[in-house]
């Protein structure tokens, strides 16, 4: 692994002209035993994440925990403020008049869960990250327009520059390029 990590090569990238070819190529790459693969498309292609074997359930948990934190924080804030720090009698209501605390707690729940969703998504995706080796791929600026790319990374145990290149060529791409770090 040490040797691979120092390699100046990031991976081999194949370019396709439509999402269906990319999806098929990704499925075949995975069947061929490659594991460190990624696919790039200008819009979400359904089934592509499964095709490259990507599975990650962290995000929903982050959002859920952030939301629960928001609920607890909202109630705790109001109970502390109105019942502990500065208890005062308003129209003979109990100090912890919880139904009146629901709206604020609801809003804090939504607020924290939304931040959880956005920050969690960016964090798990490793963004913001201004530069990434995949941007060295020729014509990669089209990955946000109308071209579809499949990358087998050099850290993959099966990665062998010649055999992997031959394999990618067999998938019928428009181009295959060696991408350096």
């Amino acid at each position: 692994m040490e040797r691979v990590a120092e390699s100046p090569i990031y991976g081999l990238v194949a370019e396709f002209s439509d999402p269906e070819s990319l999806l098929q190529a990704a499925e075949r790459t995975r069947e061929a035993g490659y594991r460190r693969i990624d696919a790039y498309s200008p819009f979400p292609v359904h089934g592509l994440a499964e095709a490259i074997g990507f599975k990650d359930n962290w995000l929903p948990w982050i959002i859920f925990l952030a939301g629960v934190t928001g609920t607890i924080a909202g109630f705790a804030l109001q109970i502390y403020a109105l019942a502990i720090d500065y208890p005062h009698n308003v129209g003979g209501r109990p100090l912890i008049s919880w139904p009146a605390f629901v709206p604020v707690s609801f809003e804090t729940t939504i607020l924290l869960a939304s931040f959880g969703a956005v920050i969690g998504m960016l964090g798990l995706n490793g963004l913001p990250r201004p530069h990434h080796p995949i941007f060295n791929t020729p014509r990669f600026e089209l990955a946000s327009q109308d071209r579809f790319f499949l990358c087998i990374e050099a850290t993959d145990p099966l990665f062998d520059i010649e055999r992997t290149e031959q394999f990618l060529e067999s998938l019928g791409p428009d181009a295959v390029s060696i991408v350096e770090r």
Binding site: E20, P42, D56, I110, A117, V118, G120, I134, R139, S144
Partner: protein, 494 residues
């Protein structure tokens, strides 16, 4: 968005190609929408005229605020008994307008309505700017906006906390959460499009700006998977949020004991009214903009038709609310409630009540006719009438209820001053200014969702695997011929 719909099994799936008629390609869609930002020559005289008027009105707003801060709220027409005048009317009016944006972006996403794709970005921007206008009013109405932070719970030397049992404080939390979440939702939707603009921009400055904003988005399948989870969850969170915001706004009234305010019908009918007013504003903006920028095939007549139908449906809910209000007032047997209703109908402000019934009860009924829904001129006129009607609704609820409540000795009339009007018209200027500024600097239609929609259209009924020889794959280009970006065919930045 979440489930591929290749066989057109859902009702929306049957008419997918109606939503994006004509020949497109992924490239052409990106170019059509992106070039409005990248090619500044696309902005013709209508943009300048509208922007200039909006900018002039914005100055009216600045002037009104400056004079208000100098002299205090005494320059407004508010006084006892009508202490909530234009400021609260306009606050509720603007926040309601914002709600259609969230409805389009969140609720229609959860309902898998593909037609939202071409209007959601636009409508979300509308939400943000409407909330910005709305927020000004209660802030300025406090009289000393520089002390507005007193509304927030923070440990302070006064050893005081905000009153968490008051709907007015709930409003602070609801509106600020709504503004924040709407901004997050909008920004998350923009990230892939900012990446697309970064890759299309040719000037290094624009490339840099879009590059920073896109945060290194590279369209990886792993990123898309998490992105879609986050986006769908945000939609799921925004949906109850938007309902809660206008519910809480209605609590400002419903929790009090003023006749005409103290009713349980307020939350649902406020929410319906918000959506109704919001769609009117989306139509008001979309009808001219799609014409000026030649977007008739992206925002089609089908979209107009459906927006008009939603306006009609929510308008009927609102009208039902008016009928219920009248019914309950008399059914209650309470003489103050009965007087409130007769005063609304026949008192000194009767004109506003009957104008309201005309605007929100009578005029929208024309939308039952397809000829009206497909006629942009009349649709635009009806949208204006609806906007006025919704403003009148808040006028009737606030001013007419307050001006004569329990004690006849406390009755009075409300006369707005020029500064009330100045601030109101000024915020219309601010809203338009921000909207037209937005059109110029950010893509007003979601690029990647339109590409996704096009993908669904060309693959509907084809199954998942591409058919060789289908000339429409990958757009108008033959496979293997790669046009570099920035070829002469591409646009020029100005």
């Amino acid at each position: 968005m979440a489930v591929s719909n290749h066989h057109g099994s859902s009702p929306a799936g049957d008419g997918l190609s109606e939503l994006l008629p004509g020949e497109h390609s992924y490239r052409s869609l990106g170019e059509r929408i992106g070039s409005i930002v990248l090619n500044q020559n696309k902005h013709r005289w209508p943009w300048y005229v509208v922007f200039f008027i909006a900018f002039a009105l914005l100055q009216v707003m600045m002037l009104s605020i400056t004079w208000l801060l100098w002299r205090g709220v005494g320059i407004w027409g508010i006084n006892i008994p009508v202490a909530w005048g234009f400021d609260i009317i306009n606050f509720v009016w603007w926040i309601g307008i914002g709600h259609a944006g969230t409805l389009i972006s969140a609720i229609l996403l959860l309902l898998r309505q593909q037609w939202r794709n071409s209007i959601n970005r636009f409508a979300e921007a509308m939400t943000l700017f409407a909330v910005a206008c709305a927020g000004l009013f209660p802030l300025l109405h406090t009289g000393r906006p520089w002390l507005a932070y007193w509304m927030l719970p923070y440990p302070n030397v006064l050893a005081m906390w905000p009153q968490f049992r008051s709907p007015l404080l709930w409003d602070v939390f609801a509106v600020s959460t709504y503004a924040t979440v709407s901004a997050l939702f909008w920004f998350v939707g923009l990230i892939p499009d900012l990446g697309s603009l970064r890759d299309r921009a040719r000037s290094p400055i624009l490339k840099g700006i879009f590059g920073v904003l896109a945060m290194g988005w590279r369209g990886s399948a792993q990123h898309w998977a998490r992105y879609e989870t986050a986006y769908l969850t945000l939609a799921g969170l925004s949906t109850p949020l938007v309902l809660s915001v206008h519910t809480i706004v209605s609590f400002d009234f419903a929790v009090s004991i003023v006749p005409g305010w103290h009713t349980t019908i307020f939350p649902p009918y406020f929410v319906a009214g918000a959506v109704y007013a919001g769609f009117a504003m989306v139509l008001t903006l979309a009808i001219p903009v799609r014409k000026w920028y030649g977007l008739e095939d992206l925002i089609t007549m089908k979209h107009m038709d459906w927006m008009a139908k939603i306006m009609l449906a929510t308008g009927l809910v609102v009208f039902y609310g008016y009928i219920c209000e009248a019914f309950y007032a008399f059914y209650s047997g309470n003489k103050f409630e009965i007087y409130m209703m007769t005063n609304r109908m026949f008192g000194p402000y009767a004109w506003s009540y009957w104008a309201l019934i005309f605007c929100n009860g009578v005029v929208p009924q024309f939308l039952w006719f397809p000829q009206v829904r497909y006629n942009l001129f009349w649709l635009f006129v009806i949208s204006q009438v609806v906007s006025v009607g919704m403003w009148l609704e808040r006028f009737v609820i606030i001013v007419v209820s307050l001006h004569r409540d329990y004690l006849p000795a406390n009755w009075g009339m409300y006369y707005p001053t020029i500064w009330d009007w100045g601030l109101y018209l000024g915020t219309i200027g601010q809203f338009t200014f921000l909207m037209f500024g937005f059109i110029r600097v950010l893509p007003m239609i979601n690029i990647f969702e339109m590409k996704d929609l096009w993908h669904r259209i060309i693959h509907r009924g084809h199954g998942r695997v591409a058919h060789a020889g289908d000339g429409r794959h990958g757009g108008a280009m033959a496979p293997g011929t790669v046009q570099p970006l920035g070829s002469p065919a591409a646009d020029v930045e100005g």
